[in-house]
């Protein structure tokens, strides 16, 4: 389907690669976008909330329509839709790649906000020689190095022989640089940051995990049972003792640690988490509706 953002044939919206009309369209579209940007900057305040509400509604409307509107069954790509219902259904299905592309692209731009914020804070710290500005230099140098080596490594893999770089024997300087920064430093520090919590868990368990109330007792007992049942050696010793005592009696075999823990897991643990999940799900549905219909009082003002 020749939608605006996915037309394969040459028309007003789609032009050949590197052609004059394509770049005219890009520049023209950019100017149009800048005009809209400037228009929004000078928009009267009373129109702000409707504009935001409109963009929110349009975003949600696609997925809701896709869900509730009947989709054409077993329709081939080259087949033409007959009637308004089938046309709308085909349009919604065909628009899927465009919507996924648009949402991914806008999200990617928003991800850049974090980087932008980081850069502005640390550049300010360096230029104003604030406290610990030397560490900001380290941060920015690391950022620039990783971006440089990462991009250089990516470019080096572009050519027809790019797959040869999957083997370390074929690496050049930039590939080693990327590997040292990414695998040698970033990945190891990532792992170290997550593992530090283990120390705090032990310290907290020692200092604060007290059997002071019924709830705390239930929580502690369940935690201990879960941990012990997942320890193969403990389960083996317990189960072996039960098997020896049971002597083939099927009923007594239910007292093996793996059976008891499995029963508690299936009966109480899964069900209580399901209750939590239902509660969260109902809340998410209500929140989703409120956000989609802009019933949340976030406002459109500055």
């Amino acid at each position: 389907m020749n939608l605006i953002l996915q037309s394969k044939v040459v028309n007003f919206w789609a032009q050949p690669f590197n052609s004059q009309w394509l770049w005219t369209g890009v520049i023209g579209g950019l100017l149009f976008g800048i005009l809209i940007f400037l228009g929004l900057m000078f928009m009267p305040a009373q129109f702000r909330r409707p504009v935001v509400a409109f963009s929110t509604f349009i975003g949600g409307a696609y997925w809701v329509l896709l869900y509730i509107f009947p989709a054409p069954i077993d329709m081939q790509k080259t087949e033409l839709a007959t009637g308004p219902v089938e046309s709308v259904g085909k349009f919604l299905t065909d628009a899927n790649p465009v919507v996924v592309s648009v949402s991914g692209t806008v999200t990617a731009f928003m991800l850049g906000l974090g980087i932008f914020s980081l850069l502005s804070i640390h550049l300010k710290r360096i230029t104003r020689r604030q406290k610990d500005w030397a560490f900001s230099v380290v941060l920015l140098a690391a950022l620039a190095s990783m971006a440089f080596f990462g991009y250089a490594d990516y470019i080096s893999r572009q050519g027809p022989d790019g797959t040869k770089l999957d083997l370390q024997a074929n690496w050049g300087f930039v590939n080693y640089g990327r590997d040292l920064l990414f695998d040698g430093l970033l990945q190891q520090m990532d792992a170290a940051m997550f593992s530090v919590i283990a120390f705090y868990i032990l310290s907290a368990a020692y200092r604060a995990f007290r059997v002071r109330s019924v709830e705390a007792t239930i929580l502690l007992s369940t935690a201990l049972l879960v941990m012990l049942s997942l320890m193969g050696a403990v389960a083996f010793v317990w189960n072996d003792a039960v098997r020896n005592m049971a002597n083939g009696n099927d009923f007594l075999m239910n007292f093996q640690l793996t059976e008891i823990a499995g029963w508690i897991r299936r009966t109480f643990e899964t069900s209580s988490l399901r209750g939590i999940a239902f509660g969260v799900g109902i809340g998410a549905l209500a929140m989703g509706l409120r956000i989609w219909l802009s019933l949340e009082r976030t406002g459109g003002g500055a």
Binding site: T105, A108, M189, T267, I282
Partner: protein, 253 residues
């Protein structure tokens, strides 16, 4: 050549230095830790910057906008859909959050993303919870009294048909288990939903019981979290003591 002088040896040594640097915070906050903390943030931010372009903007946006170069001479290449350029000013509106006067404009792309998310919540609700509701409503009355507990199928020598028939029965223990399962879900849900003062004694009792049953779920999560975090620590100790100290320094594999 001793392993410490090879590239892999140097790489592992750098990793150990960084790990020990970050662990030094366990003693107290210090400049060694702060150095590695900033190094980590910078590297992570640099990689994120790279992947924003390489993974999310180049293929799904830029290449679709400007088209694809022909692989061989004479090939037409892929067409470009120039209207994708409109996403640039829309995305850049998000950066107006730093402007005091125009920060409302950042709500436009945020609203678009939130709208996409909220539309999906409506779409996925039944797909997520429909089967779970069915999975909760299991039989609470036994269909057979031939055995009070579920037989051990692994030890029974049954034909596939007989095994299927045995599996389809609901034994007393299963019925009790199903009832306890249903009761737990209802009590936990009542604890969440009836957060206002309920007049009915039944509802209040159910909410009270739900609170205790919730602790079982939280205990399970705590136990699992403990195991996971300890595993991550064991992995770091393996990296330091075996991959570096044993293999690189002592040169024993």
């Amino acid at each position: 050549m001793p392993p410490i002088l090879t590239y892999d040896g140097i790489k592992v040594t750098f990793g150990v230095l960084a790990t020990v640097g970050l662990y030094s915070v366990l003693y107290r906050e210090n400049k060694f830790y702060r150095f590695f903390e900033h190094l980590f943030l910078g590297l992570a931010a640099g990689w994120t910057l790279l992947t924003i372009w390489v993974e999310n903007l180049k293929g799904p946006w830029w290449d679709l906008m400007v088209g694809v170069a022909p692989e061989k001479a004479g090939d037409p290449g892929g067409n470009g859909n120039w209207a994708y350029i409109i996403l640039l000013p829309v995305g850049l509106m998000g950066y107006m959050v730093f402007s005091k006067k125009h920060n409302w404009m950042s709500r436009i792309p945020i609203g678009l993303i939130l709208g996409l998310w909220s539309g999906q919540q409506i779409q996925i609700w039944y797909n997520t919870y429909g089967k779970q509701i069915a999975g909760t409503a299991q039989p609470i009355w036994p269909t057979t009294w031939s055995s009070l507990t579920v037989p051990n199928y692994d030890t029974l020598q049954l034909s596939p048909e007989a095994l299927a028939a045995a599996r389809s029965q609901v034994y007393l223990s299963q019925a009790i288990t199903n009832f306890l399962f249903l009761m737990t879900v209802v009590c936990v849900l009542s604890y969440f939903l009836f957060s206002f003062d309920a007049k009915s004694k039944l509802v209040r009792s159910a909410s009270g019981l739900g609170r205790y049953l919730l602790m079982i779920g939280f205990g399970a999560i705590f136990g699992s979290t403990v195991l996971m975090r300890f595993t991550l620590l064991i992995d770091r100790m393996y990296f330091i003591w075996i991959e570096w100290f044993n293999n690189v320094i002592l040169n024993r594999s």
